[in-house]
């Protein structure tokens, strides 16, 4: 009897240990974007399909998220099992061994991921982050204002045409400005846009000797054009505007044209958010001397940090959240216009999606035309369209962004801003020993 009792206790303890071992709490760090919030709401489906896995969310603003996940991953804090990162971090962190290479089963259909996205999130042939939604940049414009001005928008306009259209659409007395562009300093703010503008003017951040080129005539031409364009036809206070500020202006009917992330197309064409939704139309980013690098490429992606104790469960979650089945789940729940875009070929091949999303064609064309390996007229040493995939870039572009924002505000001249930018970039590259 005693043996039986002991055996029963042993079995109970063992079973309790097994159930404890099977229970896993996944902590996922993410940003407060619409698609991410939808993912949180649908997490119950994943938990139901994977009994024993509980998902906890930590939602942070973009800057804080970057600082939190960088601190955590660099110190091997292990606070997060899955983290939302961008195309800038994924290959660099993968190369440092901070992220686990993602290894999904055949049902995931990794070949369905758009090649530009897959390439931008990989290093050494390994995928280190799976794209949750992706974006490029394009023109979003008011067709009613364009028609009233007696102009048309070609699918691939030049910057000269954009300037003419901005002049024709501007009606400052009624608070309508021909063009709205990012001016707030930051590597992910004004510098993301200005880099694509500079690329199309034939400029580049670094030559093949990795030396900064910010004092080149091409940069001077591009930045002078940008400052003049916004000064003449942009809204007041442009040096403080970034995505959200311009989204607010556009939705309030204050902008004739806006060149920014393709994700904005779903907001400006949504009548519940935009007072001018029915007038919005889309075209590819403008070019000057080259089409290379004229539109950016970005993805918010899910990655598994190398320090996680629950690697298998974390990879299972990433596979679920970035799968074709997840996209279908969102479509079934909220409609095809609400699915995360910019990641899979199959999404754009789906007629339900292309019928529901008026911007689908323009978005796909923009994403497919962006090539991080060939984004400047002259060859560049580093990958990336609107950024350069080196750890020093965030600091360098942050400093340059401050200078160019000051030039836009009229505090300094473009020439002074670029001269200071060149000095700052040269100092940082020397310090990092890219050259002596």
């Amino acid at each position: 009897m005693k043996i039986l009792k002991m055996s029963a206790i042993a079995v109970a303890v063992t079973m309790s240990c097994v159930s404890t071992a099977q229970a896993a709490d996944l902590t996922i760090a993410t940003v407060n974007n619409g698609h991410m919030i939808e993912m949180q709401k649908l997490t119950g489906h994943f938990e139901k399909a994977n009994p024993g896995i509980n998902v906890n969310w930590v939602t942070l603003d973009e800057g804080t998220l970057r600082s939190r996940v960088t601190t955590d991953i660099a110190t091997k804090g292990g606070q997060f099992d899955v983290m939302t990162i961008g195309m800038y971090e994924a290959p660099m962190w993968g190369a440092k061994g901070w992220l686990e290479a993602l290894d999904f089963d055949a049902s995931y259909d990794v070949d369905d991921i758009l090649p530009a996205m897959r390439g931008g999130l990989s290093h050494g042939g390994n995928l280190y982050a799976a794209p949750f939604y992706g974006e490029s940049s394009m023109i979003m414009y008011r067709k009613d204002l364009m028609d009233a001005a007696g102009m048309t928008m070609p699918d691939n306009p030049t910057w000269g045409h954009i300037e003419d259209a901005a002049a024709a659409m501007t009606d400052k007395d009624n608070g309508v400005y021909g063009i709205c562009l990012r001016g707030k300093p930051g590597w992910g703010d004004n510098m993301a846009f200005i880099t694509t503008l500079a690329n199309s003017f034939g400029a580049q951040w670094f030559d093949m000797e990795k030396k900064p080129q910010l004092d080149s005539p091409a940069w001077n031409h591009a930045v002078n054009f940008y400052v003049d364009l916004l000064t003449n036809y942009g809204p007041p206070g442009s040096s403080g505007n970034s995505f959200n500020e311009i989204l607010a202006l556009t939705n309030a009917g204050k902008c004739g044209m806006w060149i920014d992330a393709t994700i904005a197309a779903s907001f400006v064409s949504d009548p519940s958010q935009s007072s001018v939704a029915e007038h919005m139309a889309f075209a590819q980013s403008p070019v000057a001397v080259t089409h290379r690098g004229a539109n950016w490429l970005w993805a918010w992606a899910l990655a598994v940090p190398a320090g996680t104790q629950q690697s298998a469960e974390a990879q299972a979650f990433v596979q679920w959240a970035t799968s074709k089945e997840y996209i279908e789940l969102v479509a079934a729940t909220n409609g095809w216009a609400s699915v995360p875009t910019g990641t899979r070929s199959s999404t754009y091949a789906n007629k339900n999606f292309t019928d529901a999303a008026v911007f689908a064609d323009a978005e796909l064309k923009a994403i497919l035309s962006a090539d991080p390996s060939n984004s400047t007229q002259a060859p560049s040493p580093f990958k990336g369209v609107q950024f350069q995939a080196i750890p020093e870039f965030a600091d360098i572009a942050g400093a340059v962004g401050q200078q160019l924002s000051a030039a836009l505000a009229g505090d300094i001249t473009v020439e002074e801003a670029l001269a200071e930018s060149q000095k700052a970039a040269d100092r940082a590259m020397r310090k990092a020993k890219y050259y002596k």
Partner: protein, 278 residues
């Protein structure tokens, strides 16, 4: 027209009152605007010119309730604020007593040094504190927050209590000693009862500072120990309008401490102005 003394006094009284109300309105305006925005849709929140009259909506509050466990964040704020304040007071009361009644050669220097630690930007010590917390297995726990909040507010509490204790006549303590009171008795039965208002004021100020702390609350917590500051941060969005939602989250986070501050305003003003006019 010449005014007599009584009339001049009345005019001065009204002018002062009007000025005070104007200043109060300017100071309160951002909070009022935040509360108004929290009852708007995102489209109404960005409307130009801003809407002063609109059809109010409670959707933002409903959405926050659906998405976030408000009570969990609120209780974390309560635990860390009260815990941090009590810990700081436990350290500060005997320290301020020693410095006020038994000053040494370097007492003033120590007090100034303590205050100077407030000048260090918090981010400067982020990595060491993060690593210490991680090595202690205390990431995403309220305990390191309680300790950090206590240490952060210790200089201010020390200064406030030091100023209060200095006002207590030394003769009272000397009389107590003559009657055989020990140091502990002096502190418990004379100093603390006499300066109860000051201790309460310092505690209230510390409580408010702890409640509003955001940097460490966001950096050291994840899904379990987040405070209301972390709740607000979670509604800021890099790509999408969020002003109305963030205003609702901020209103819910501020409400308890505003109500608390309203009831305790007399003690707070007393604490902050004590010793300012002799």
């Amino acid at each position: 027209m010449m005014l007599n003394i009584s009339q001049r006094k009345t005019v001065k009284h009204w002018a002062t009152g009007l000025f005070a109300w104007l200043v109060a309105l300017i100071l309160f305006f951002p909070i009022l605007w935040m509360i108004m925005t929290s009852f708007k849709t995102e489209l109404q929140a960005i409307s130009q010119p801003p809407l002063l009259f609109w059809e109010t909506t409670f959707d933002n509050y409903i959405l926050i309730q659906e998405r976030s466990d408000y009570l969990k964040y609120a209780f974390n704020s309560l635990y860390t604020s009260v815990g941090g304040t009590l810990l700081a007071l436990i350290i500060a009361v005997p320290s301020a007593y020693a410095m006020a009644f038994f000053p040494g050669k370097y007492t003033k220097d120590i007090l100034l040094w303590m205050l100077s630690t407030k000048m260090l930007p918090a981010v400067g010590v982020l990595i060491p504190i993060y690593m210490i917390t991680q090595m202690g297995g205390l990431l995403d726990s309220i305990y390191p927050l309680i300790l950090i909040f206590a240490l952060m507010n210790l200089p201010i509490i020390m200064w406030m209590l030091f100023t209060y204790f200095k006002e207590i006549p030394k003769e009272i303590l000397e009389a107590a000693r003559m009657d055989g009171a020990t140091t502990r008795d002096e502190l418990r039965h004379i100093v603390m009862p006499l300066s109860w208002g000051g201790i309460a004021s310092a505690g209230l100020l510390s409580l408010i500072l702890c409640w509003n702390e955001a940097f460490w609350s966001i950096q050291l917590t994840a899904s379990d120990a987040g405070t209301l500051a972390a709740l607000i941060a979670s509604y800021s969005s890099p790509e999408g309008l969020f002003w109305a939602k963030v205003s609702a989250a901020s209103t819910m986070a501020c409400a308890p401490i505003i109500v608390f501050g309203w009831f305790c305003q007399k003690q707070l003003v007393q604490g902050l102005t004590f010793g300012a006019v002799k």
